[in-house]
């Protein structure tokens, strides 16, 4: 029996070699999933900063009731692009493309993704499309909101709208390519000793996410094609003056865009399920229920879209169905939340930055989830539709949920990706600023919405001025909060302390190879000797010796032995 232990020395050597010669690979058409993952993460973070800058312009305009900072037309373009950039160029690419690419093959012990070249193509569609979308500001960019409802989208900036449609189709194509790659990789390329029920929960979440991307995205493409015909050729699919039906667009659009909400949160759920047990030093509570609840959310997510259209003349019986289906999603989501709480309950918590963001994720996401159940109720929704209550709700889910999840994961896996530790003090400063800024920006918006302030309008009634000013100050705190993170990340990448293979004493496979991992991931093929969350069930040695090479029969025996020991 041979134990393979990556010593500190070899880890350092490999790292020096990587940074010394190979930084150019990040600008190349690399087919290494780790390079592509980092390309996704860095690119999408740049778009996050751009989308954030657009948000700051929006908030600056809203600091006062008059439209005095930018014109109303520009304001419409700003919030349209803010949402488009944040959804299509930041959250979806970083969660699925970034972390999915980096982690999935490592977690299942594979050498790479199933289709490496397709993977690279999927990434390289994103930067040019993003630049194209941003350049459309020069011709007057799309200004009918990220939902781009006709007939409004048909009578506003035509060139900008056409570029927007093209951009959404291209980004959707990239997303489909990535999804079919993940699906194939997870279903077909796990190491032989990893059955489904020993797969890390992030991989379960990626199966659920990929299924949504594969099924829902093409319908959005269909909607975009018809909208494009209406815009450029003069057909009347969605134009009521020509006999078309704008509500058909809304159905097609939300058939994708509601599942998109789960595409933006399921991978974060998965990563939180990795981070919490590691830093609480306890097994995850209810592994199978958390795994299957991802699939349940994925399925239910496909049949709730019309809850965005309660005020679009949807008939009562249909409203009833969509209300109940939407509320049903709270069940699998609640299962996850209670599973996480039970996981950290009585744990030996390590309150590092990753864990703080993960716990911040739970608390913020629960607020967004609860207001989600509120707006699922038809009578309530009719009152708050298109008000700031919705803006508050969606930002608690997408910022408090997705972005907190991304930050938690960045702190957790940065050592693996770069071989260096992030600075904990500045990490905590970052967390406090983000947490305070986020709540100061978005919590008061609930009040604004209930008082009747409409979204997507540059001017508002002076009675809302004070609360809006508070939101704007909060958003500036959020802007400042990225500075300690950026400095921390760049400085640590270059000069941070060496991380070693497994700084968090974690049990999943990505920690069983050097940091950063070599090309094709594992010098020796890994074999599972414990479940992914068997904290407390395994002896301390396992954290450093979890990949073992020996003849097949002995391996299987040991895997079985470990399985019985843990159960």
């Amino acid at each position: 029996m041979t134990h393979a232990q990556p010593t500190a020395h070899t880890t350092h050597g490999a790292h020096a070699q990587e940074t010394g010669n190979n930084w150019r690979k990040y600008f190349s058409f690399s087919t290494d999933h780790k390079v592509i993952g980092i390309q996704y993460l860095v690119t999408s973070f740049v778009f996050y900063l751009i989308g954030g800058a657009l948000a700051e312009l929006v908030r600056t305009e809203l600091a006062t009731p008059q439209s005095d900072f930018v014109s109303r037309e520009i304001y419409n373009q700003l919030f349209t692009m803010h949402a488009t950039v944040m959804i299509f160029l930041w959250i979806i690419p970083s969660l699925t493309g970034g972390f999915g690419n980096y982690l999935v093959p490592l977690m299942i012990g594979a050498k790479d993704m199933a289709f490496p070249r397709l993977n690279a193509i999927a990434f390289w569609l994103i930067p040019p499309t993003g630049i194209l979308l941003l350049l459309s500001f020069f011709v007057g960019t799309a200004n009918s909101g990220w939902t781009s409802y006709p007939p409004l989208s048909l009578v506003s900036n035509q060139a900008g709208e056409a570029i927007w449609i093209l951009g959404v189709i291209l980004l959707g194509t990239s997303s489909i390519m990535a999804a079919l790659n993940f699906m194939t990789t997870i279903l077909k390329m796990r190491i032989p000793s990893m059955p489904f029920q020993k797969m890390p929960l992030f991989c379960w979440a990626m199966i659920a996410t990929s299924a949504l991307q594969l099924i829902a995205t093409p319908v959005l493409t269909g909607a975009m094609i018809l909208l494009g015909f209406d815009l450029l050729v003069g057909t009347a699919f969605f134009n009521p003056t020509g006999g078309g039906d704008p509500v058909v667009y809304q159905h097609m659009f939300w058939f994708y865009s509601h599942p998109a909400v789960y595409i933006m949160i399921l991978p974060a759920f998965g990563m939180i399920s990795e981070i919490l047990p590691t830093h609480a030093r306890k097994p995850i509570f209810g592994y199978l229920t958390i795994a299957y609840s991802s699939l349940a959310i994925s399925f239910l997510g496909l049949v709730v879209w019309a809850h965005h259209m309660f005020t679009s003349g949807t008939p009562d019986w249909l409203r009833m169905f969509f209300m109940i289906a939407t509320m049903a999603i709270a069940v699998p989501t609640g299962i996850k939340v209670f599973g996480w709480l039970a996981t950290i309950w009585g744990g030996k918590l390590r309150l590092c930055s990753a864990m703080l963001f993960a716990m911040g994720f739970i608390s913020m996401f629960v607020i967004g989830g609860l207001s989600g159940v509120m707006v699922a109720a038809v009578p309530f929704d009719i009152h708050v539709h298109d008000t700031y209550f919705i803006v508050a709700h969606l930002h608690y889910v997408l910022f408090g949920g997705s972005v907190f999840g991304i930050y938690a994961s960045l702190y957790h896996w940065f050592p693996k990706m770069t071989g260096r530790m992030l600075n904990e003090f500045w990490g905590k400063v970052h967390f406090v600023l983000t947490f305070v800024g986020m709540n100061m920006t978005f919590l008061p918006m609930h009040v604004l919405g209930l008082q009747g302030m409409n979204r997507r309008i540059a001017e508002y009634d002076p009675q809302f001025a004070t609360i809006n000013l508070i939101c704007t100050i909060g958003s500036y705190i959020l802007a400042v909060s990225t500075i300690p993170f950026l400095i921390n990340a760049i400085w640590s990448w270059v000069k941070g302390p060496q991380a070693g293979a497994n700084p968090w004493q974690s049990l999943t496979l990505e920690w069983m190879t050097s940091s950063p991992p070599p090309v094709e991931n594992f010098d020796l093929d890994p074999v599972l000797v414990s479940g992914p969350y068997d904290y407390g069930h395994v002896n301390a040695q396992t954290y450093n010796t979890s990949f073992v090479i020996e003849p097949a029969s002995a391996q299987t025996a040991e895997a079985e032995e470990a399985a019985t020991a843990s159960s």
Partner: protein, 210 residues
């Protein structure tokens, strides 16, 4: 990965990682392309499902369908076209049978026959477009959906012809396709069946039940 990694000897495992990628890419890495391709087709079918549902919604909501003043759609030519396209599915299946018997010549012949049938279908569709009494954007919802749906299907037929030509081009090289190795032939066949199934739905909706 399935099963192969466990039995490898240690010497193979210590093999330099960068080189092994190039050398045993095909021998060690099981082929998942067909699985991935089927996933892609499932995804692609949702594009048509979206467009079909849009059409059916227009149809269900409109008081009269097709809208008043829509000229009759000629049935004879599209029916012949349908027969040609559907039979081509059986023809391309012969190509699959041929390559599984390592008969590259036979595969090429059957592919050529399928290309001819697909091209006839497309030519028929172009002829039909040229002689229809309604256009794409003349304020008639039936006309617009008709052109977009059949046009999208036609685009897929065209891509199918390109795929078959690509397979033929590659099959010039001796041994490129064999009874063991013929992903390109198999994928093209599945794609062609997919295009056919879409057409059955389209033909029923736009011609028979309109």
């Amino acid at each position: 990965m399935q099963g192969s990694t466990v039995t490898q000897s240690q010497a193979e495992l210590n093999f330099s990682a960068t080189h092994s990628h190039q050398i045993d890419h095909h021998s060690e890495h099981p082929d998942h392309r067909l699985f991935g391709f089927v996933l892609f087709l499932i995804s692609e079918s949702m594009l048509f499902v979206g467009l079909f549902v849009a059409y059916l919604t227009y149809r269900a909501v409109a008081p009269v369908w097709p809208p008043a003043g829509t000229p009759e759609v000629e049935l004879l030519l599209p029916s012949i076209n349908t027969v040609i396209l559907l039979s081509s599915s059986f023809v391309i299946h012969q190509a699959d049978g041929a390559i599984k018997k390592n008969d590259v010549k036979g595969m090429q012949l059957w592919f050529l026959a399928t290309i001819a049938m697909g091209a006839t279908f497309l030519a028929g569709q172009v002829y039909e477009y040229a002689h229809l009494e309604f256009g794409l954007a003349e304020g008639n919802l039936f006309g617009s959906t008709f052109y977009v749906l059949t046009g999208f299907h036609g685009l897929h037929v065209f891509v199918g012809l390109l795929l078959m030509s690509l397979v033929l081009w590659r099959s010039r090289r001796r041994g490129h396709y064999s009874d063991q190795k013929h992903f390109g032939v198999e994928a093209t066949e599945i794609y062609w069946h997919f295009v056919d199934v879409i057409w059955i739905f389209l033909f029923s909706m736009l011609y028979l039940l309109h």
